[in-house]
Symmetry: C2
Subunit: 342 residues, 2 copies
DNA sequence: CTAAGTTGGTAAAACGTTTAATACAACGGT
DNA sequence: ACCGTTGTATTAAACGTTTTACCAACTTAG
């Protein structure tokens, strides 16, 4: 029952007939050891299967080999793992697996600004913060503590910050609007979320710019991310009450599913009367009737880029960001006009 | 950029005019301090927002406030976050959120027996191991190091071990067989996975026992979990080649989806000729045509039980396990006979 | 042949805790 | 008046690393 610690640096030193300092230097490739002793020590360490204790190492200020993942978008949701929302969990899975492949452990941290601070949270080597908010306190905390971090989606409060990656929403959004226009849509509605993150801000800006460029009057509706399908359903009613548009673009798959329900309930046919698409694929979009056109996000690509950026930043190398990956817009029945098919 | 550490125990001691030992004792409720000083120190610590550093604490052998989650079933899969497999990720999300609520951090650890050992992995306070294998090396490692752990699903190699929780598969399986029988099925096939865990072992045992009790000849087919839908499709062909059964029960939603495809391809109608159900709900089961009857698992309940067990075990309290939660069998079109409907 | 570098290594301090051993009162009992 | 107690708080050791300061033994230059 007693916690048995493994082989320590002292054991290795003793066996190799050197000081503990020598062992540390040999393994970390520091100091001024002769090549011969360095090799001898390494061999001994290898043989004894020595592995430096991350706690002790971290206490000294050296890297512990673990990074944190903060999901701002999930912090905001009431549930942490709502059914049908596979996007975030796919990010978690992908980031976790890739971190492992690099010899890093990954720790899920829920809002480290909340007290008491989650244990170990401030001792990690770095952080991935997904979808930071405007003036995000999490970012503040990390900055204050000098902890390296990268973000998924740009930080709306720090235009100069470059260590971020994202699926290239802006150009994808444009493609969708043009897809709508090509199908003959003249009035287009945007339904976005309310979290104050780049996703929502940039999307609306892109939408307005595009509307202006083609001479369409913008109509933006909001529904909180946490409202899910219900939120989409309610907004659909509001949209119909105002004026039935030719096309609607929603941010999340759950919103889109709700909108579809709402439209159908009001007798608005999709896609015959109104086209529908969403910027984020999910279970709902794949399987609703009709299936909803959506952008397929590639979590693996994005997390890979984030890990690259984070490791570079931890190593003190210059930033290679931002990195934009491209999602694929998959056209499904919800935005395919009969006479435009093919 | 320099990592700024927070307020240390020394700072608190100084401010309160006592020794560091006194502070430690006051906060941990140990030692022989007077009630007065204890309160005074606590007030000071509170005021300074002091939080003990988990690294330093762990180095001494005290709990670090973080636990590990090992997903054996995902270790086995090639991808760590395959689309459509929401069960595991829901476990991750649920466990993570609940751990947070208890002031614990949760770390995802992929196979800690693989060298190099994931950093911090052996310094965690305890582990949740999902679906341990027969003679699981992960369990061996934890036992050897004296690290407390609980398992999701019983450990097939340790019948005396009681610190586990699971959805009550056995009674659920029985209910499904009886559901089949009630719909008139006389020949029933079980399709299970190949991972050597309790899920597969107990399920087959339950199946055979039930068959014997009602005088049915058991027919068991195997398909590796990682084979997914493709595996189910292939097995469906094999099943049909042998003899078309009245009902098929699959373990995973992906297998069931594959079986459905395979049966349809061979002209076997579901549910008209053959009934179909699965023991594990997933995107596929909810949205296939026909929708597949499945057991809805309640990740939240189960992870809650696991955390209770783990915390008790860490605290050295007697085991309250095993804990069985009950999944709900949701009948969908795939096992609903026209003449039995209602 | 001595002063000044190199080379290759060691001893010891430091990181922030917890805890065992110890000190120092004040107090009661012979 | 002396001696164990008891009640409180302190000192110091320990956890396993990394890193700074130092040292001994050679080389080299003058």
């Amino acid at each position: 029952m007693a916690r048995s610690k493994g082989v320590t640096i002292r054991d290795v030193a003793q066996r190799a007939g050197v000081s503990v300092a020598a062992v540390s230097m040999a393994l970390n490739d520091t100091g001024t050891l002769s090549a011969a002793t360095r090799l001898r020590i390494r061999a001994t360490a290898e043989e004894m299967e020595y592995q430096a204790d991350a706690l002790a190492r971290g206490l000294r200020g050296s890297p512990v080999g673990a990074i944190g993942l903060v999901m701002r978008s999930l912090d905001a949701l009431s549930e942490y793992a709502p059914p049908g929302v596979d996007l975030f969990t796919r990010y978690i899975g992908a980031a976790s697996a890739q971190a492992m492949d690099r010899g890093l452990s990954l720790m899920l941290v829920r809002d480290p600004t909340k007290r008491p601070t989650p244990p170990l949270a401030l001792s990690l080597d770095g952080y991935i913060v997904t979808m930071p908010h405007v003036d995000d306190p999490v970012i503040d905390l990390l900055e204050r503590r000098g902890i390296p971090y990268v973000t998924l989606g740009r930080d709306p409060s720090r235009p100069d910050f470059t260590d971020w990656a994202t699926e290239d929403e802006i150009s994808t959004f444009r493609r969708i609007y043009e897809h709508f226009a090509a199908a003959g849509a003249r009035s287009i509605v945007l339904l976005r979320g309310t979290d104050p993150n780049a996703w929502n801000i940039d999307s609306e800006a892109t939408y307005r710019a595009w509307c202006e460029s083609v001479g369409i009057t913008p109509r933006v509706y909001l529904s909180a991310e946490r409202a899910g399908e219900r939120g989409g359903e309610e907004v659909a009613q509001a949209i119909v009450d105002d004026e039935i548009p030719d096309a609607i673009l929603c941010h999340t798959g759950r919103q889109a599913a709700g909108v579809l329900t709402g439209l159908t309930a009001r007798g608005v046919a999709v896609p015959d009367r109104t086209l529908l698409a969403t910027a984020s694929d999910s279970e709902h979009t794949r399987h609703s009737r009709p299936a909803i056109s959506a952008v397929e996000l590639h979590a693996e690509e994005t997390t890979l880029a984030l890990l690259d950026l984070l490791q570079a930043r931890i190593a003190g190398e210059p930033s290679a960001g931002p990195i934009l990956t491209t999602g694929r817009f998959r056209v499904r029945a919800s935005s395919r006009r009969a006479h435009t098919s093919g």
